[in-house]
């Protein structure tokens, strides 16, 4: 055997297990979503015979544009709020003394290791009509007896920000830690205002961290299902809830599949944008280094 073929065989031997596993159990099912969108449903809750366009046409359901729009603005707003909070927090953690930095990082990561469902449930019991927060707010005269804290779009937003914060803080922390703060001092020495120095130098300096934090928050938010399901109501349903409803309540798998196909397409747009941005950044980084 030629050494080249031998090397290729070795590479394939090492690559094949994970490559085949992911091709069969990840890529193939993703493609199946698109295929089943063109299948009729069957009354037993399975997938019918033959091909049809009716499933796709059923997406014209008058409620859907509203739900899709809500999914987009809620995940967009979650991303913006999360990023606005995370940047100063990441800044503070990255600039703290080493022992304090380790402690703050640990405290940030710790809730992320606890069960996702439990954290959402904890909010449900805090915001419950008989819960502590309502009593406290009533005591402060901030709300009236009949106001509802649970089952509203604002509740879903609050809990989404709560669960996504660590995912934004960590990549931002990594970016801030690498940032060279003498650049800020230089800008200040050259007469820039503090605000201008941070807006024009610090924010572009942590751009890669901002981008990945954005992606880490936006994509799971678009796919949210448990949070609107547990703390949300009818007027805070998102696409994920409809997919689950079609799957478990109506047992109409092709319809759920068509919705999932739409979500896959919507989700790949920011992902492609991110990957493109990353490539451009890699491309522009080299000439900049040469200039320095």
């Amino acid at each position: 055997m030629k050494p080249k073929t031998k090397k290729l065989l070795k590479e394939l031997g090492l690559t094949a297990p994970s490559l085949l596993w992911l091709a069969v159990f990840f890529m193939l099912p993703t493609l199946i979503i698109f295929a089943i969108s063109f299948k009729p449903s069957d009354p037993l809750g399975g997938v019918g015979q033959g091909w049809t366009l009716n499933t796709i046409l059923a997406l014209k359901n008058p409620n859907y544009p509203e739900i899709i729009w809500r999914t987009l603005w809620m995940s967009g707003l979650t991303t913006i709020i999360t990023l606005v909070i995370s940047v100063p927090v990441a800044y503070h953690i990255a600039r703290a003394k080493p022992w304090k930095r380790d402690l703050l990082l640990l405290l940030t990561i710790l809730p992320f290791w606890t069960s996702f469902l439990i954290r959402i449930f904890a909010w449900k019991s805090v915001l419950h009509p008989d819960g502590m927060l309502k009593k406290f707010l009533l005591f402060c005269n901030l709300i009236s007896e009949d106001s509802l804290l649970l089952y509203r779009p604002g509740t879903v937003l609050l809990v989404m920000v709560y669960t996504e914060l660590p995912f934004a803080i960590l990549p931002l922390y990594a970016a801030v830690e690498k940032f060279d703060f003498s650049l800020i001092e230089a800008a200040l020495d050259l007469g820039a205002g503090k605000l201008r120095a941070y807006a024009n130098i610090f924010i572009p300096g942590i751009k890669s961290g901002l981008l990945s934090a954005c992606l880490m928050v936006l994509i799971p938010s678009i796919g949210s299902y448990v949070i609107p399901d547990v703390v949300g109501g009818i007027d805070s349903m998102m696409v994920g809830n409809v997919i689950a409803q079609r799957t478990f309540v109506d047992r109409n798998l092709p319809h759920a599949s068509a919705l999932a196909a739409v979500m896959t397409i919507v989700m790949f747009l920011p992902l492609l944008y991110f990957l493109k941005g990353k490539k451009q950044e890699d491309g522009s980084a080299t000439p900049a280094k040469e200039v320095v």
Binding site: P111, I118, G131, T247
Partner: protein
């Protein structure tokens, strides 16, 4: 330069926000009042009720079984994937990298529904096996990334040197490569295990009769509204998680100290 106090205040406010619901939940698990709005006195009765709930124990058993098998499969596959990705470059590895990376960013609900449709299309009965396959699939990527980050500074020429000096392939892997990446493998396996134990969305889609895992059980308890019981169960799970993290942190610290000495 005078530093603004704002980031510090915000950081502590965020941490307070992180822990407030968790602390209230733990307190409420000892609260005799059912709704938790007021303090009805200290009690352990919810814990007592919890221990006699048989479906929780069988759900825990399923969770541990699924997590253990899925962790073994994904650790094996993920480690091979990371070594291949680090060692070889080219078209195959570009495709390979995409397949490993994309599941990390795809929302769980899409992984769940796509696997459900896949199993339905192939007429595979849903149950523990489909659950294990699903969990192993999303864990492979996390293990691969953990091992890959450990391999980042690893110099492949060391392996060639070892082979040039007459060591067999297997000996080289066992004596040089594995000890180097072992911390990455352990970290990846731990991550896979926690993700698997914690997973609800994907499990919910591919679960069949008799394969109820702990998160699915908790979800149905939330739906049915047995709040005090979930408080108690959550407190126990939180205590276990925090204990494990403390132990891992402690081991990490003492290891770092040893390496320094």
């Amino acid at each position: 330069m005078r530093r603004s106090k704002f980031p510090a205040v915000l950081t502590w406010a965020v941490l307070f926000f992180f822990y407030l619901p968790i602390i209230l939940l733990v307190l409420n698990s000892f609260n005799a009042s059912r709704t938790g709005g007021s303090w009805g006195g200290f009690t352990l009765k919810w814990y007592a009720q919890l221990f006699s709930a048989r479906e929780i124990w069988s759900a825990l058993k399923n969770s541990l079984l699924v997590a253990t098998v899925a962790t073994c499969i994904s650790t094996l596959l993920g480690t091979c994937a990371a070594i291949a990705l680090h060692r070889y470059k080219g078209k195959i590895q570009n495709v390979h990298y995409c397949l490993v990376y994309v599941p990390l960013v795809v929302p769980e609900i899409l992984l769940g529904i796509s696997l459900l449709l896949f199993f339905v299309a192939l007429r595979i009965e849903l149950g523990i096996v489909t659950m294990i396959i699903a969990h192993a699939t999303f864990c492979v990527s996390y293990v691969a990334m953990a091992v890959l980050s450990r391999l980042q500074d690893f110099d492949n020429t060391i392996l060639e040197a070892s082979r040039d000096l007459g060591a067999s392939n297997w000996y080289t892997v066992r004596k040089i490569l594995l000890p180097e990446i072992l911390p990455g493998i352990v970290a990846g396996a731990l991550l896979a295990f926690t993700l698997s134990i914690d997973d609800f969305v994907i499990s919910f889609f591919v679960a069949g009769p008799g394969s109820t895992t702990l998160p699915i059980q908790i979800y149905s308890m939330i739906r049915r509204g047995s709040m005090p019981l979930i408080n108690a169960l959550s407190t126990i799970l939180l205590a276990i998680t925090f204990l494990i993290i403390l132990v891992v942190q402690f081991i990490g610290k003492s290891q770092a100290r040893q390496e320094k000495n």
